[in-house]
Assembly symmetry: C2
Homo-oligomer: 92 residues x 2
């Protein structure tokens, strides 16, 4: 058994991540997780929607989870920062 | 029976929407839906996380749904635009 495949969303064009998801599914993956933080979160949803609606209609959303990552402050005295996260798991 | 209360996320500071959610719950709502489109989506998750972790620890996430809204083009010849959406339903 392999772990579920993960696509981490950054600043590249949406189609790069869409292709990464499709490649995982074509390689036999049953599940692909799309993960993003902060401002990339809306892009993660774009990727999931394009994969499902335009390329792989047999792919469904298995689950969507949200959370918070905490960053410790680099300098003394400043408080730590929180950033929201999302994980969308697609299943075929 | 009332419909579930909805908070639509726009460009205002996060705390405005957090307060709106808390006000609904304090007014007796059992469920509050947080809805957002496009770039406001990450803000919707921030709001849900702050409500749950900082103010109302008995509030849980009931469901998270994603979707696509299609806008018809205003001018002839140009194609329609898609925008991703999210709806986070909190339950007490």
């Amino acid at each position: 058994m392999t772990e579920s495949s993960a696509v981490l969303i950054g600043k590249k064009p949406i189609m790069n991540y869409v292709l990464a998801c499709i490649t995982f599914f074509h390689g036999g993956a049953k599940e692909v997780s799309i993960k993003a933080r902060g401002r990339s979160i809306s892009r993660a949803i774009d990727v999931a929607e394009v994969v499902r609606h335009r390329f792989l209609p047999d792919v469904k959303i298995k689950s969507i989870g949200i959370g918070t990552d905490q960053f410790e402050a680099q300098e003394e005295g400043s408080s730590s920062t929180n950033v929201s996260t999302i994980e969308i798991t697609l299943i075929r």
